[in-house]
């Protein structure tokens, strides 16, 4: 630009003023700057004033209490909230890396509309007004068949607004993806003692049997459970015995580790139960008073499960089984911890019931230090509550006897098979194209506009699933959003916690509350009445209105200040069943399940062989996909700090097995799905071998959480060049540390070759039924 003259300047000024009467976006300050609440604190190095606010973490399902530390409206640190009953001040790596999730350089901050074919990654920014108007128009038009709305979310129970929105629209199809991991356990516990899930009271027990669980790395109640587990060992001298297919972090804190052949843990548990019954070590009073079987009936049933049989089939010595059975039954209180390496099979519900039987026959049920029932406040649906829209093939598929969290793994396949019409697919912060089995099939479904005519993704990130959306609405992260959070209490005292914004929303990201309310009012047709809240506070207050005692303590204001509330006078009410029995049809623990009998399944806890494992071929191994402490399935993929620690997942193979297969450490290998394990679009994956004694000889193990094909540049290990103009937004020193793309890569998502197969009782994904043959590449 050349030097400007006065005349030119005035002329351009006049022309500019003529362009648009631009109305300034600035408004005078209505009030003094609203400072975030909290105490006083300063940064020790910069001296900047620091404020802090309590909230709730949602990086994983545990829901720990957190404190967000804010300087000049930037979140600088996330720590644990010491007042929170579960995590009591501790916080895991994922929780601390929430800062990465908030300031993710690949975060979406403007609504986007696709301009090319689905999945072609070609977008144009649009205004919120246009995005809302178009989505509302499509949804209003589709509402002549309200069941044609398919709403996918992470966990329906933790997305009350999503469920309300779906029901208000008239569709029952609010489907959570969490069920692919925990459905079998929830169904097994519901059928047995009338409550979904369990809380092992590990801090107060003297003896713990761990079946396929890994509380020190991954657990639905992660750090809260981990610290209690360690407390139990250190303060209570509890003995820990682990059954697993892999040397997990938990085993490093255990007294004994027993490798069990994959899918056969129930044989070991049933053999132990058999020993306890035969040797008279059981709690006769408890069995007779609180279960629906007699000790004699049970002993007779268990006789088929001898320790010798377990030794022959599952590989745990009969001597050890007898010894451990006697130890477990004679040490009180004792408990068990179970997780997906037990229940993630096509026989998962039965496996869970087999292990639960150990606590039942020894009377370690809902007692101090035993296996406790989950205690959690049931919150009200704010009035007016949308009517229940019934059921559909998505919520109650024919191939699952007791759908609880629903069978999300197969909903997209059901849509493809035209089991029901889908006119609008709404995905809310969920990533099935990474976290579900058979990614290839799911991708085909989302690409096909005949099957899914319209897909709106509400998410802060362009993850693998949002990449196949027609419109993306940039949602706030959990650090910028409100919700009431409840979880089962690890102290048997129920609590209510709050998620609140620790910083204002970045750019034009909007909370799901605002999006749902705005869409409901535009779609209209009666839907708007269910979102007629004046403010988010009104919604939150309505949610907690039935929690006795909280109102007196200060209600929502109390939660804003402390992050959590529980009745201070309340003490753990162990033995809660003694007052009114169990919430089963018989009021007792249904060791014999009439409901299972009715549907043609074994009514007593039993072992059923996984068909695929009947005969393993010479080069065949069982693939185990394990969870680590560093990633939450499909969710934390682009968090810098987490990827820095875990970005790769070589396949763990036992050296003996490797020698047999002629594989050496570091070899490129190929895992090819055996025809025994069903069909998925992709048949094989390539990875590297990592030889370790820390894995069962019949198993090949790979970590979950890495191997993203989308989600962002950190997830995919793209190296950022410091001075490259287009990478300026990544000049943050953190992002220049992405070095692993060139050093071993970013891993492989092993779930791609897993077929969609479920336990026919509980509908949980049978992740473990996976036989692969291993070839050198």
């Amino acid at each position: 630009m050349r030097t400007i003259s006065r005349r030119d300047f005035l002329r351009l000024g006049a022309a500019s003023t003529a362009v648009l009467a631009v109305e300034s976006q600035f408004r005078p300050l209505a009030r003094a700057a609203e400072l975030l609440e909290g105490g006083r604190s300063v940064n020790r190095t910069s001296g900047l004033p620091r404020s802090f606010l309590p909230s709730t973490c949602t990086q994983c399902p545990a829901g720990c209490g957190i404190i967000g530390y804010v300087e000049e409206s930037r979140l600088v640190k996330i720590g644990g909230n010491t007042k929170h009953i579960s995590n009591a001040g501790t916080l895991c790596a994922r929780g601390q890396a929430g800062i990465n999730a908030l300031y993710d350089p690949d975060r979406l901050l403007k609504p986007l509309k696709r301009t090319g074919a689905r999945g072609q990654d070609s977008w144009v920014e649009i205004e919120w007004e246009e995005a809302l108007a178009e989505v509302a128009q499509r949804m209003a038009a589709a509402r002549s068949n309200p069941q044609s709305l398919l709403f996918l979310t992470e966990d329906v129970e933790r997305d009350p607004l999503g469920r309300r929105f779906t029901h208000a629209y008239g569709s029952p199809n609010a489907i959570g993806s969490a069920g692919i991991h925990d459905a079998n356990k929830k169904v097994a516990t519901s059928l047995t003692w009338g409550a979904a899930g369990d809380i092992p009271d590990v801090a107060r027990c003297k003896y713990v049997l761990v079946f396929g669980a890994n509380p020190l790395e991954n657990n639905p109640n992660f750090v809260g459970m981990a610290r209690r587990f360690v407390d139990g060992i250190q303060q209570n001298q509890s003995k820990v015995v682990v059954f697993d297919v892999r040397l997990s972090h938990t085993t490093t804190f255990s007294h004994e580790l027993h490798y069990v052949a994959p899918g056969k843990m129930a044989l070991v548990a049933l053999a132990m139960a058999n020993v306890i019954m035969q040797d008279g070590l059981y709690d006769r009073d408890f069995i007779e008073r609180w279960t629906n079987v007699s000790p004699e009936q049970l002993a007779q049933h268990l006789a088929q499960y001898s320790p010798e049989r377990a030794e022959a089939e599952a590989g745990v010595s009969a001597l050890d089984i007898r010894r451990l059975a006697a130890e477990f039954a004679s040490t009180k209180p004792a408990t068990t911890i179970t997780d997906s390496v037990l229940s993630g099979f096509s026989n998962g519900v039965q496996n869970e019931r087999a292990v639960m039987l150990l606590s039942i026959i020894t009377g370690n049920i809902d007692n101090r230090g035993g296996l406790c029932m989950p205690r959690q406040y049931g919150l009200d649906e704010p009035a007016p509550a949308p009517p229940q829209p019934g059921v559909s093939v998505f919520t109650n598929p024919e191939n699952v006897a007791f759908p609880s969290q629903q069978a999300v793994a197969q909903v997209l396949r059901q849509a493809k098979d035209r089991q029901a019409e889908v006119r609008v697919l709404m995905t809310h912060s969920v990533n099935p194209l990474y976290s579900s089995p058979d990614e290839g099939l799911n991708e085909d479904v989302l690409r096909d506009e005949n099957v899914i005519p319209f897909h709106v993704a509400i998410t802060p990130y362009l993850n693998e699933t949002a990449a196949f959306a027609d419109i993306i609405m940039p949602e706030t992260t959990y650090m910028e959003d409100w919700e009431i959070e409840v979880r089962p209490s690890l102290e048997q005292v129920p609590f209510v916690a709050l998620r609140q914004p620790v910083v204002p929303p970045l750019e034009s990201a909007r909370s799901f509350f605002e999006i749902a309310r705005d869409l409901a009012s535009r779609i209209g047709g009666g839907m708007e009445q269910f979102f007629a809240f004046n403010s988010v506070s009104d919604y939150l207050k309505a949610r907690i209105s039935s929690v006795g005692g909280l109102a007196n303590a200060g209600g929502l204001d109390y939660l804003k200040q402390h992050g959590i509330w529980f009745d201070p006078k309340s003490r753990p009410n162990y033995g809660s069943y003694e007052a009114g029995g169990f919430s089963t049809p018989s009021g007792r623990i249904e060791v014999f399940s009439p409901r299972l009998a009715e549907r043609g399944f074994a009514p007593l806890p039993s072992y059923e062989t996984v068909q695929a494992f009947r005969e393993l071929g010479e080069r065949e191994l069982v693939l185990t996909i394990y969870e680590t402490a560093l990633h939450t399935d499909g969710k934390t993929g682009n968090c810098m700090w987490l990827n820095e620690i875990q970005h790769d997942n070589p396949a763990l193979i036992n050296p003996e097995t490797a020698a047999r297969l002629g594989i050496e450490d570091g070899d490129k290998i190929k895992l090819i799905r055996s025809s025994k394990s069903g069909e998925a679009k992709e048949r094989s994956i390539e990875t590297e071998a990592f030889l370790t004694e820390g894995v069962h000889p019949d198993v090949i193990a790979m970590a979950n959480g890495v191997g993203h094909t989308g989600f962002g540049r950190i997830a995919q290990g793209e190296k950022f060049k410091k001075d490259e103009v287009r990478h300026r937004e990544l000049r943050d020193a953190n992002f220049q540390l992405v070095w692993w793309g060139d050093h071993g890569g970013t891993g492989v998502n092993a779930k791609r070759i897993v077929p969609i197969e479920m336990d026919p009782i509980g509908g949980g994904q049978a992740w473990g039924d996976m036989v692969v043959s291993v070839a050198k590449d």
């Binding site: 630009m1 050349r2 030097t3 400007i4 003259s5 006065r6 030119d8 300047f9 005035l10 002329r11 351009l12 000024g13 006049a14 022309a15 500019s16 003023t17 003529a18 362009v19 648009l20 631009v22 300034s24 976006q25 600035f26 408004r27 005078p28 300050l29 700057a33 940064n43 190095t45 900047l48 300087e71 000049e72 409206s73 930037r74 300031y103 350089p105 690949d106 901050l109 403007k110 986007l112 990654d121 977008w123 144009v124 920014e125 649009i126 362009l462 929303p505 970045l506 750019e507 034009s508 540049r713 103009v725 287009r726 990478h727 300026r728 937004e729 000049r731 943050d732 020193a733 953190n734």
Partner: protein
């Protein structure tokens, strides 16, 4: 902008002109283009006054149907400033490292400082906006020049002087530290002559207005 030495009337005129240009630039870099914007940018008066400064557009801007052009420019704006993926993050804190910071970062120290500056001015950060975004900082200058013109018109020379001092501070502490760099990035990266030319205008105009070149002593004509 001090406009020293100029007569009162002409100082008002200059302040209003500066306000117009800052508003225009704020509109262009702060939000998506529309058909209306494209249309007015192609008006003769605008093209002529830009040409006088040596700023011109190429055929990709001048000879495309306006509806199509608005669509194309929206895609280009998205690619340049929004993403997904690599884009120019037009925030001061991404370009300027704060004293306590090891490296520049989104929503960094500068963001807080700019927000504080707006508070001092008595302005609230608009909802859904980041304080140190290119568009918003340019708009803040528009607000200040507008207020300055209003004070001058009301004969409040002291008030106008305070606003001039605020502008001077905002220029020194913020605009001059990064606007030239971000404009250079846009000039290098954009496939569209519209955004390249507007980045060149923004860089030149900010430098000129901030370094006091527009001091009322502008030559009537440039040879």
């Amino acid at each position: 902008m001090t406009f020293s030495g100029a007569a009162s009337n002409s100082r008002i005129e200059l302040a209003r002109a500066a306000q117009g240009i800052y508003s225009l630039l704020a509109r262009i870099f702060g939000s998506l283009p529309t058909v209306r914007l494209v249309r007015s940018m192609r008006e003769e008066q605008m093209l002529d006054s830009l040409a006088a400064l040596g700023i011109s557009f190429e055929a990709d801007f001048l000879s495309v149907d306006e509806e199509r052009l608005a669509r194309e420019l929206s895609r280009e704006y998205t690619r340049l400033f929004t993403g997904p993926g690599t884009h120019i993050a037009a925030y001061e804190s991404v370009y300027v490292r704060g004293e306590g910071e090891t490296s520049p970062r989104l929503w960094g120290q500068a963001t807080g400082e700019v927000a504080e500056f707006y508070r001092e001015l008595g302005l609230e950060v608009p909802e859904g906006k980041t304080p140190d975004h290119l568009g918003l900082e340019l708009e803040a200058m528009a607000v200040m020049t507008q207020a300055q013109a209003d004070r001058l018109a009301a004969g409040d020379d002291a008030g106008a002087g305070r606003l001039a001092a605020m502008q001077e501070r905002f220029c020194r502490e913020h605009l001059l530290r990064w606007i030239p760099a971000v404009c250079r990035d846009v000039e290098q990266e954009s496939d569209s002559s519209f955004y390249r030319s507007m980045a060149s205008l923004a860089a030149g105009f900010v430098e000129m207005s901030c370094t006091g070149v527009i001091s009322g002593n502008l030559p009537e004509e440039v040879a």
